[in-house]
């Protein structure tokens, strides 16, 4: 008799300014996810600066991407468990909350419940009306004032959880959620993941998490950033400046059509010019003529824009009262990372080393996502795999601590209730 083992399927969706993509993955025994299907469709103006501008248009594009993903996964999309949606913009902001719990159990051992409660208590800051928490992530714990990473089963009278909390505007978030809903995914099975947190899941190494990392994702419409140290996220955010701004600046500065500027940036012409130290670039001009533009002009325009972008990120991190640990390394990702000048300027502005982050060995039959453009959706898929498992399982490769509100937590509570008294983790 054939025994059918149901596959553990999860899905990730990213609705971005330049593209909408869907990844379908299968979660293996060990918790690792491998890609079994993929669909990408150009956003074609339905998303601007990271936010849904035209719901109808975005819906159609998403539909296309979903269909492609379904087909390439051999129709497994319908069997999906959790769906993670990477979100950005939406007025997302973050803060560090602290939640306290007194350990009441007789043996004074910290239980999983205590940790969950402390985490919950950290969400104290009253948000402005119209805002909701979308993600929270444990940065570190204090046990009777002593800093620890794994408080479970340790002895203490008091547990403080320092939690990184991301909140955003509900109405803007609803745009993303309704797109998923209309596409056939129930609310109870979708979770949102703030893009930089998805990036962290997808491309940051454990070593980087420990020693400190500054991650910047330069997308088409937005750029996201994240600072992590000692495996705790300290700061994250988004600014609505992206690679489109670089193209726009070139278009205005050099009086070239925007399409041509996008092309020059993407097809490697600009990279080639800088790399080989050419002193000009010949571009097609009106009337079939050729215009010779000095390399310095590209330099000036791109430099000014990217430097400013990095400076704004730096200022935002400072505003959050976070300092970047001296041993930190930089990780640059997103489409903007493909321009060599981006990482050069990163090193210059932040005075730290910088590597280009992209999904590595994503596994699975479907390839073609080994590019910084796919870091976010890949990270969202890994997050989906994590969320999909019932809480209480051991760590997997994913950052162990991203939690979503309500959905996961209530599931957690329920399962904890059931397992009370017999937890051994």
């Amino acid at each position: 008799m054939a025994m059918f083992k149901t596959r553990d399927i999860v899905t990730a969706i990213e609705i971005g300014t330049s593209k909408i993509c869907v990844l379908v993955g299968e979660v293996g025994e060990d918790g690792r996810v491998s890609i079994i299907g993929r669909g990408v469709a150009p956003s074609a103006g339905s998303v601007v600066k990271g936010e849904v501008e035209s719901v109808e248009n975005a819906f159609d594009r998403l539909g296309q991407a979903l269909e492609d993903a379904d087909r390439s996964s051999n129709r497994e999309l319908g069997n999906t468990g959790l769906v993670a949606i990477a979100v950005t913009g939406c007025g997302a902001e973050s803060y560090q909350g602290v939640g306290t719990v007194f350990i009441k159990s007789d043996d004074h051992k910290v239980s999983a419940r205590d940790i969950a409660d402390a985490h919950e208590n950290a969400k104290v800051q009253i948000l402005e009306p119209g805002r909701e928490i979308i993600n929270s992530s444990e940065s570190y714990f204090l046990l009777d004032g002593r800093r620890v990473r794994h408080p479970l089963n340790q002895n203490a009278a008091k547990l403080d959880a320092h939690v990184h909390i991301v909140h955003a505007l509900t109405t803007r978030m609803d745009n993303f959620r309704s797109l998923a809903r209309e596409s056939g995914f129930e609310d109870s099975m979708t979770e949102v993941v703030f893009s930089p947190l998805a990036d962290e899941c997808g491309i940051v190494s454990d070593e980087e998490r420990e020693n400190g990392v500054l991650l910047i994702d330069i997308g088409a419409g937005t750029s996201e950033f994240l600072v992590e140290y000692n495996s705790g996220i300290l700061c994250s955010g988004v600014l609505q400046i992206g690679f489109e701004h670089v193209a726009n600046d070139l278009s205005i500065g050099l009086n070239l059509p925007i399409e041509l500027c996008r092309k020059l940036l993407e097809d490697g012409s600009v990279n080639h010019m800088f790399h080989d130290r050419l002193d000009h670039l010949d571009v097609p001009d009106k009337g079939g003529r050729i215009r010779r533009i000095p390399a310095g002009s590209f330099d000036t325009v791109i430099d000014a824009r990217l430097r400013e972008l990095y400076e704004v990120v730096r200022a935002r991190i400072a505003e959050a009262n976070v300092s970047i640990a001296p041993e930190s390394v930089g990780v640059l990702t997103g489409g903007g990372a493909l321009l060599e000048r981006s990482s050069e300027l990163f090193r210059d502005v932040f005075d730290m080393s910088c590597r280009i982050g992209q999904p590595i060995e994503p596994g699975g039959a479907v390839t073609g996502i080994e590019s910084p453009r796919y870091s976010t959706v890949w990270g969202a898929l890994r997050a989906a795999a994590y969320f999909n498992r019932t809480y209480g399982a051991s760590q997997d490769g994913v950052s162990r601590v991203i939690n979503a509100v309500d959905g996961l937590l209530s599931r957690t509570r329920r399962s904890l209730e059931n397992l009370k008294g017999s937890i051994k983790v």
Partner: protein, 407 residues
Amino acid sequence: MEESEKKVVTLLALGGAGCRILNAISGDPALSGIRLAAADTDSESLKNSGAPEADRLLAGGVWRHGRGCGGNPIDGQRAFSHERGNLEKLLTGADFLFVIAGLGGGAASGGAPVVLSVARRMNLPVFFVVTMPFSLEGHTRRRTAEECVANELVGLADAVIPLPNDLLFSVLEPNTPLTEAYALSDVEAGRTVVAMARLLAAGNLMSADFADLSSVLRRRKCLCSVGVGVARREDGGAETGMQALEKMLASPLLGGAGKLRSADAVMFTLLGGPELSLGEAKQVFELAGRQVSPETSLVVGAAVHEAWRGMLQLSAVTVKYDIESAPGSDVAARSATRPAPVRRHKGAAVQEAAESGDLLQPSLFELFTRGIMEQTTRTTWRGEDLDVPAFRRRGMAIDTGETVSGK
């Protein structure tokens, strides 16, 4: 060698920054024979301006008590409007008026239009050399400064030479304290003024008819930039002229050598010590002239002064006419052409210039264009509109290149 008639040049420092700049250069012997004057709403600043007491004008002294106008251009204008009579007295006897000011605050931005109107009434040619605030000083100051230039000065003054402080960033270390940055701005502006005023005043080696340039500039809306390069003979030897040229081209306020190539008119001024020979001057001008396109009107002038012994200073003032202004356009027409902003950047005149492959000089109207971000919700940060190209907000000039083949 011709001796041209001595012209009485008056240098008027307007506002706090203007007075500071004047103070920095008032000791320069190259300014001997040039009348120095200062006008401000702040009595302290006037005292420290370096202008002789008889030539200081405290505007709004009675009701502001000499304590300035708090950075408010409306108050500044009000204060100066009460002083028209005194301004006229101050400027009597001058053949040329240079006004040096730092725009963005109250006295200079508010007082400039008043000074201009008094000068015009007296038929006095007036050149404004004004510094434009650093972007980091905030959106309000920038706006005040830009509006003053665009709405009040350009097209009415004989020449307006804006010196965007932001251009200085290219020569400043990132951690430079603000006071140093301001000091550098003062020095660059001061050098410019000294070079131009000196040339005007007397002692031309060659006939540089400023009146020619002036009549060409008058009433024509134009954009100017200035570059100044100083070289020492002990460093350069026979190459001193070349070095001065190179430094001038690299001068942050010039905005790049492309400015020379694309200008409608350029004025080169060479200042040197008594050892400066006609031959050397000609050689320097020849070299400098190669940076300029054949269609450009060129005005050259040189002056010698004992104070410049062992040094050579080459400065260039580039002038580009606003392509939309017709010669002799008057104020009424000017108001009509002032735009509801930025849609115009695709206008016919701009298209034409683009087609001919010429360098496109942004008109002041285009300063705030956001291109494809036009219809999007603005992304702002600390008062700045980040959708406007970064290079534009920093006042950087871009060389758009030239056509290299017909087909």
